[in-house]
């Protein structure tokens, strides 16, 4: 861990702070323009600045992982002498059971955990929006059938589905994990979108678009969905956090991201047996998850207050 790495970390922190500040100002300017003259006071949950900063920091670390870490995440430094070494200057977060540097694994693990969370949630949002829009717009049989499918999906606890599905495949490649998480997370979103679409389709602009002879799906894409964007984005922000927690749970049960690829979840799982003697191996990835999910929840709350004026005072 030499000076270049420390410099890179400090640079990442500074950049995150600056980016958070910039984003907040930009956002506030937009909000001020949107609510100008309505007399509504724009309120923000506390800590949004820190939340954005945390997110930017972890994303930056994930993207620039080779710059901020001295070792490859799977490099076993000295399997006899450097096993479970406590934090020190050379290894700021200590080493784990296989004498791998925890900070390096955390940084590369950010790539996997964040990517899995983002991609799976995007997939879930897409499928959920499509299903919900179809059900809400076409109604009758389409609605009945689709909503029964959603009911079935919501009827089984997710961990159950995931355990069984993980058992179905001998070993889950990352793509399969993303698909699995995404395809089991869209049910609530579809309900949400359906509710929105049901109200929207009665509005004038939809009626006039239909009168003008537009195709159904075209109307859905161009007129209905953009208005659903607001709650969808909110559920996206909150959903990423849920998926990350789920990925951690799956890895804890042994069926998530496969080694040696690090993910925050499987780092916690591997460190579990050392919790009493080398707690840093479990504590730090756990802390990372908590921070990121907290940040995502805060940002989600902010977005909900900002984008959806009907959501109630915060």
């Amino acid at each position: 861990m030499n000076g270049a790495h420390w410099f890179a970390i400090v640079a990442a922190i500074a950049w995150s702070a600056w980016a958070a500040q910039w984003l907040r100002l930009h956002f506030e300017r937009r909000q001020r323009r949107a609510t100008a003259g309505t007399g509504r006071r724009f309120v923000r949950p506390p800590g949004t600045l820190i939340a954005i900063g945390i997110l930017v920091f972890f994303v930056t670390v994930a993207v620039a992982a080779p710059l901020v870490t001295p070792y490859r995440p799977s490099r076993q430094l000295d399997i006899v002498r450097l096993q479970n070494a406590p934090p020190s200057w050379g290894h700021p977060l200590g080493t784990d059971l296989y004498s791998r540097d925890t900070w390096s694994r955390l940084a590369y693990g950010a790539r996997v955990s964040l990517a899995v969370g983002l991609l799976a949630t995007l997939l879930a949002a897409t499928v959920g929006a499509a299903v919900g829009a179809a059900a809400g717009y076409f109604r009758r049989w389409t609605d009945a059938v689709l909503m029964r499918v959603v009911d079935v999906g919501l009827a089984i606890p997710r961990i159950f589905i995931l355990l069984v599905a993980a058992a179905l495949t001998a070993h889950l490649p990352l793509a399969a994990l993303v698909l699995l998480l995404g395809l089991t997370s869209w049910f609530a979103t579809s309900r949400l979108v359906r509710a929105e679409v049901l109200t929207l389709r009665e509005r004038d602009f939809v009626a006039s678009a239909r009168a003008l002879g537009g195709g159904d799906w075209r109307i859905i894409f161009r007129h209905v969905l953009p208005n659903v964007a607001a709650p969808l984005i909110v559920s996206l922000a909150l959903g990423i956090g849920q998926v990350m927690l789920l990925e951690a749970a799956l890895s804890f049960l042994g069926v998530g991201v496969q080694p040696p690829t690090p993910s925050w979840g499987n780092m916690i799982a591997e460190g579990r047996d050392q919790l009493a003697t080398a707690p840093w191996t479990t504590l730090f990835p756990g802390l990372a998850i908590v921070l990121v999910v907290m940040a995502l929840n805060t940002v989600g709350d902010t977005l909900r207050d900002a984008l959806d004026p009907r959501a109630g005072a915060s």
Binding site: V152, A167, R272, I289, V290
Partner: protein
Amino acid sequence: MATWLLRRLAAALAIVFAVVTLGFLAIHLAPGTPFLPSDERTIDPGVLAALRSRFGVDQPLPVQYGRYLNALAHGDLGVSFSQRRPVAAALADAVPNTLLLAGTALAVDLLLGLALGTYQASHARRRMDTGIRAATLTLYSLPVFWLALVLLLVFGERLHWLPAGGMRDPVLSTAAPFAARLVDRLRHLVLPALTLGLVGAAGTARYQRAAMLEALNQEFVRAARAKGLSERRVVWVHALRNALLPAITMVGLALPFLLTGAVLVETVFAWPGMGKLTADAIAARDYPVVTATALLASILVVAGSTLADLLYAAADPRIRTRDA
């Protein structure tokens, strides 16, 4: 009302049937076979074949499915491969344990969450509110198994204040007087119920805060204040009653999860409930138990959401007039 109930019932049956079929297919198609030893022993192929034949696992899938449905229609849930006794007996042992844990966790969840949320709303945007918001946000974002591990380590192993897992002390449970045994049971209950309850309470508090704030903005609250009622009565009696609806729906929806899905907490604390039974059954490919759990889970979810709808309709007369 009657037609609504009948329609819901029909839909419920369809959902349960679909879930059971999916569960059946999924576990039977999973690679691996039941009856394998869990430690490093070999198994004689003749013995394996005999076991598979004895339990009907070597039949083609449609035959097994048909037999299963037939047995189910007669109320027979099958025999567990791992426990070598009827599945009903295995469930009968596990369900009360989960009910105890889930019930306690739900109580903690509701009491703490509702109280916190209401308190937050009545002190909105002041220091206590912000502090509690930060706390609930943290709890809500914790991986629940991580919290469980940490609590177990700190209170169970390091401080020895509470037992390190299990449901009761096997020695005390037969020898000690009633009071000591009760205390022992309660001591074993604290950590798992707290883990589940705290995380749930954080979520409930968030919802309750928003619902209470909305209730407090209503006309009738202003009227109550104008009438001279104390702030405490206004908040904790009148506004709360109106803000309870979301909490009620949440109970209906949360119950099935707590009953069947607390896999992580039950695993960490070695609590012999439904979640652990399910996870073990999936790992051991214990087909009858897995399908029975799927059946139970789906029944509970459907019942729970129907109950929630009924409660909602009973509580809010406005909803009753609008048919679902």
